[in-house]
């Protein structure tokens, strides 16, 4: 890596801090709801995905309450079925897929590449509205009766048996899909066209690579799920035989199409989170990333391989032994890209100068939990093993380790890390650490017992279960309450910090990166005072003098 620093003429920003920033640029509702500023749109996303997270969380808590006892006593089985369906739909489509790209991606992408905004600001706002319309549509159906098919909508149950509101929910998801596609398109064009002078591909922060890879998957994959869900809706309404064998269709075809999107979708969920980890682990180790290119290309690996492993969700759905073999080996290959990343992040800490601020604690949490999530993915890819645990709580535990242990941890790392940049305020550090420990402990108590439950044979989506599974279920519910408390605490102190938080300064972590070193916190509407010029590799921590005050001056273009 090149190791020369070009000292730019610094701009002392103290007087500027009281000046206008993107938050003070307007206080009317109109200035928010018709904003074209990517940073304000990010805040809109932050509000909406957080709301959805808590809605999904309420569904989860109700399920966990029901599962404390073996009988189905708190809810009618039908209502339990609606709960897990709505929990899954809300968490997957309205929280986890839009969370990191919508919030952190929107806020950071232009800042990280030294641009004034994304390539198509109006389209960006439209994406948010499309998301809101889709969400409103879905939430309305949920309130007016709900849907009970599971978030997977397997046919022929969804098209010919379920009496619930499948069609409107599916339409809601169809609409939401466009939001995902448009955001992906917007980000891709932005990355191609709007990088600051000197910011070549291999100087991009790895977060940008992650967003790029995610965008490709979104653009390629989402149309498939949209069309698939439409076909299911058509079959349900018009009785055209596509999936229902009684109408001449093939039920397993639906699963192929569904997973052709939904496996890549798990990379839509996790890859942006991995992007966050790169930024945070380097900052709190004060080290440049180990193996930049390996990580960058691992993202490309995800794009390619994520589209060819969908069959591992259908090992017991009657596919031929040979296709099962191919899907199994390909799944092992895709696993290696995650392994590379985990190793590289760990190696990045070697010889660093490590501090333990909350974002870094979340990185540790991510490393441990994502590791378990990923490794149990290897369990599931072993064919003979998957036969036993498929559709049991083992799978439930696995994907929660990846999605909550991985993505939610990364999201929280990112939110804490960039909070000072977004709002110019510091969150309360020691409460934050305490909340992190609550979340970590609660998470493990909730989901680790489920691995054992699953191996013992408890199937998923069960409202009632044999008595011998009760002990583990009670543990899981207890953990769920600790986890829930942790999340509530985070929400509470984050809101508190907006009013009472200490002023953050432009670069409280002494981080590298255009968003930290070249602009104020919060940034002005146009992001930079002068277009930055990039003349060094990313994460160039070896060339910083940390004894200096990083909060004082904005580096301008060289």
């Amino acid at each position: 890596m090149s190791a020369h620093v070009i000292e730019s003429k610094p701009l002392v920003v103290e007087h500027k801090e009281e000046q206008e920033n993107y938050l003070t640029a307007g206080y009317t509702l109109k200035s928010w709801f018709l904003t074209l500023d990517h940073k304000r749109i990010a805040i809109l996303y932050l509000l909406s995905v957080t709301t959805m997270f808590f809605v999904g969380g309420i569904f989860a808590s109700l399920m966990r309450l029901e599962l404390m006892t073996p009988q189905s006593d708190l809810f009618e089985p039908d209502n339990f079925n609606k709960l897990f369906t709505m929990h899954g739909i809300v968490m997957v489509f309205f929280f986890i897929i839009p969370a990191v790209p919508g919030v952190l991606g929107n806020f950071l992408l232009p800042l990280m590449i030294g641009a004034k905004d994304v390539a198509f600001p109006r389209l960006n706002l439209l994406s948010w509205y499309v998301y809101i319309v889709g969400a409103a549509f879905t939430m309305f159906t949920i309130v007016s009766g709900g849907v009970d098919t599971g978030w997977t909508f397997y046919t022929p149950y969804s098209t010919s048996s379920s009496q619930t509101h499948v069609v409107p929910v599916v339409l809601g998801l169809f609409i939401t899909g466009f939001s995902s596609i448009l955001t992906g398109l917007n980000f891709m064009v932005t990355i191609h066209r709007m990088r600051a002078p000197g910011l070549s591909w291999f100087r991009l922060p790895l977060m940008v690579w992650s967003i790029y890879a995610t965008s490709i998957i979104q653009i390629l994959g989402t149309p498939v799920i949209a069309v698939t869900l439409m076909m299911a809706a058509l079959e349900k309404v018009l009785r055209i035989g596509i999936f229902d064998p009684n109408l001449g269709g093939d039920p397993v075809l639906f699963q192929h199409l569904f997973w052709f999107y939904s496996h890549p979708a798990v990379y839509i969920m996790i890859v942006p989170g991995m992007g966050v980890i790169n930024e945070v682990v380097t900052c709190f180790s004060r080290r440049s990333i180990f193996g930049y290119r390996a990580i960058a290309f691992a993202n490309v690996g995800f794009v390619v391989f994520s589209f060819v492993v969908w069959g591992h969700h259908m090992i017991v759905a009657g596919q031929s032994v040979y296709s099962a073999l191919i899907f199994s080996i390909l799944s092992y290959l895709v696993g290696i890209f995650s392994a590379i990343k985990v190793f590289n992040w760990t190696a990045t800490m070697y010889k660093g100068s490590i501090s333990f601020d909350t974002p870094m604690l979340y990185v540790f949490g991510f490393q441990g939990l994502f590791l378990i999530g990923g490794l149990t993915g290897l369990f599931l890819a072993a064919l003979g093993f998957d036969v036993h645990v498929h559709d049991t709580y083992f799978v439930v535990a696995h994907f929660h380790y990846v999605m909550v242990g991985g993505l939610v941890m990364a999201f929280l790392a990112g939110i804490h890390f960039w909070w000072p940049k977004m709002f110019g305020k510091k969150y309360p550090e020691s409460i934050a650490k305490f909340a992190m420990i609550l979340v970590f402990a609660g998470f493990n108590l909730t989901f680790f017992p489920q691995f054992i439950l699953g191996y013992l044979g408890m199937p998923r989506r069960y409202a009632s279960y044999p008595d011998e599974f009760q002990v583990l279920n009670v543990m899981s519910t207890a953990g769920g309450s600790v986890l829930g408390l942790g999340f509530l605490l985070i929400a509470a102190y984050m809101v508190w910090s907006l009013v009472f938080g200490k002023k953050a300064g432009m670069n409280p972590w002494k981080a590298t990166g255009l968003e930290w070193e070249h602009t104020t916190s919060p940034p002005p509407t146009e992001n930079f005072y002068e277009t930055p010029i990039v003349n060094e590799d990313p994460y160039n921590y070896a060339n910083r003098d940390f004894t200096k005050d990083f909060n004082k001056e904005v580096k301008l273009g060289a």
Partner: protein
């Protein structure tokens, strides 16, 4: 089965159980190794390289190609073992031994209907003898279900419109959970039952109590009442193909392709006979779609399976299944009368009475 303390493994009650558990052990060991390794390094680095002051100036990171290659190759190698091991078990699970005893399963919201070849039926219970391979042929009347026996470490989706196979050999008498593992609506979690593994003697006694007509017999009756005989017998006016030896036969179709006549094809021949026309025949067979239940289809199929080709007139020679001995397979009886369709009375006489009695003693 019931126990108040937490166990970590379900009971091992089939020949697969130990194999899957050993693989589980290997997977867990590899995972523990990596988890402890990574977490260990994180803790070690956190202590050794913790920030002492802002004056710390970590050196430039240097990449290390050898290290990177190592941590790609080693995990790949370990995963390759997982792949092979998992695949080996899967292959065994996918290949039922020839001498397996057949049982037919129909899933339906929200119950499991089981038919034994001797015609005995059960609901949400399946009795099997210990130490005998059992092959299940399963289909669904409505939505997708999944037949899951944790103590045997096996499951397979049960899909409407097609047949899935599952086989096992129980190794330990007892009563085990049967779960539906694929979400199927309101009472999905109530679609449970038991697998009862019995010593051969008890099993025989249990079977002996049954008075139902055998599955193949029921199928044979249907073959008459549904009018199949009128076309599929030697002396009928409208000619349908000769169904003797149909099961497992390579059927040549109108379009020149060849298909093995297994459950799925036979079912399709009943419900959508014109979809795959047999070479040399016209589309004369009516569709039975909606006219029979999945269970009746299974009965017809199991009847058709008994129509062994008549190469010699000593039908007994072509009776591999009698080897199953103690489990009498009455479906072999029709073979003794080579053309059951044309000589229904003879067959009926033969089959009347308890299937057990009609079986030549071994």
């Amino acid at each position: 089965m019931q126990s108040s303390t937490v166990q970590f493994l379900p009971e091992q009650a089939s020949s697969f159980a130990l194999q899957v558990d050993l693989l589980y052990l290997y997977l867990t060991a590899v995972s523990a190794f990596f988890t402890i390794g990574i977490v260990g390094f994180i803790i070690f680095f956190s202590i050794k390289y913790r920030r002492r002051s802002d004056a710390d100036r970590p050196p430039m990171t240097v990449s290390n190609l050898l290290l990177e290659i190592t941590w790609i190759v080693v995990p790949l190698a370990l995963s390759f073992v997982m792949f092979i091991w998992g695949a080996a078990i899967f292959f065994k699970m996918a290949s039922p031994p020839k001498e397996s005893m057949d049982v037919y399963v129909t899933g339906k919201q929200w119950m499991w209907k089981i038919q034994h070849v001797n015609g005995h039926r059960e609901i949400n219970e399946l009795h099997v003898p210990v130490g005998k391979p059992v092959r299940l042929t399963m289909t669904s009347e409505d939505v997708i279900h999944s037949f899951f026996i944790p103590a045997f470490r096996i499951k397979a989706d049960v899909i409407p419109g097609s047949y899935s196979k599952l086989w096992f050999e129980a190794t330990k008498p007892g009563k085990y959970h049967l779960f539906c593992a694929e979400y199927c609506g309101t009472k999905h979690s109530g679609m449970i039952g038991s697998i009862i593994v019995m010593e051969q003697r008890d099993y025989d006694a249990w079977l002996g109590n049954t008075k139902d007509s055998s599955l193949a017999e029921a199928g044979q009756k249907l073959f008459k009442t549904m009018g199949c005989v009128s076309c599929h017998s030697a002396d009928s006016d409208i000619k349908g193909p000769n169904l003797e030896g149909i099961y497992g036969k390579q059927v040549r179709l109108q379009d020149g392709s060849v298909i093995t006549a297994e459950e799925r094809y036979l079912r399709e021949s009943l419900l959508a006979p014109n979809a795959k026309l047999t070479e040399g025949f016209t589309a004369n067979m009516p569709s039975y779609q909606g006219l029979m239940t999945e269970e009746q289809i299974l009965q017809l199929i199991s009847y058709m399976r008994t129509l062994t080709p008549v190469t010699t007139n000593t039908g007994l020679k072509t009776l591999p299944t009698t080897a199953l001995g103690q489990t009498p397979k009455p479906e072999v009886t029709p073979v003794q009368t080579p053309k059951p369709v044309t000589t229904p009375t003879a067959t009926e006489n033969k089959l009347s009475g308890s299937p057990k009695k009609s079986e030549p003693a071994k």
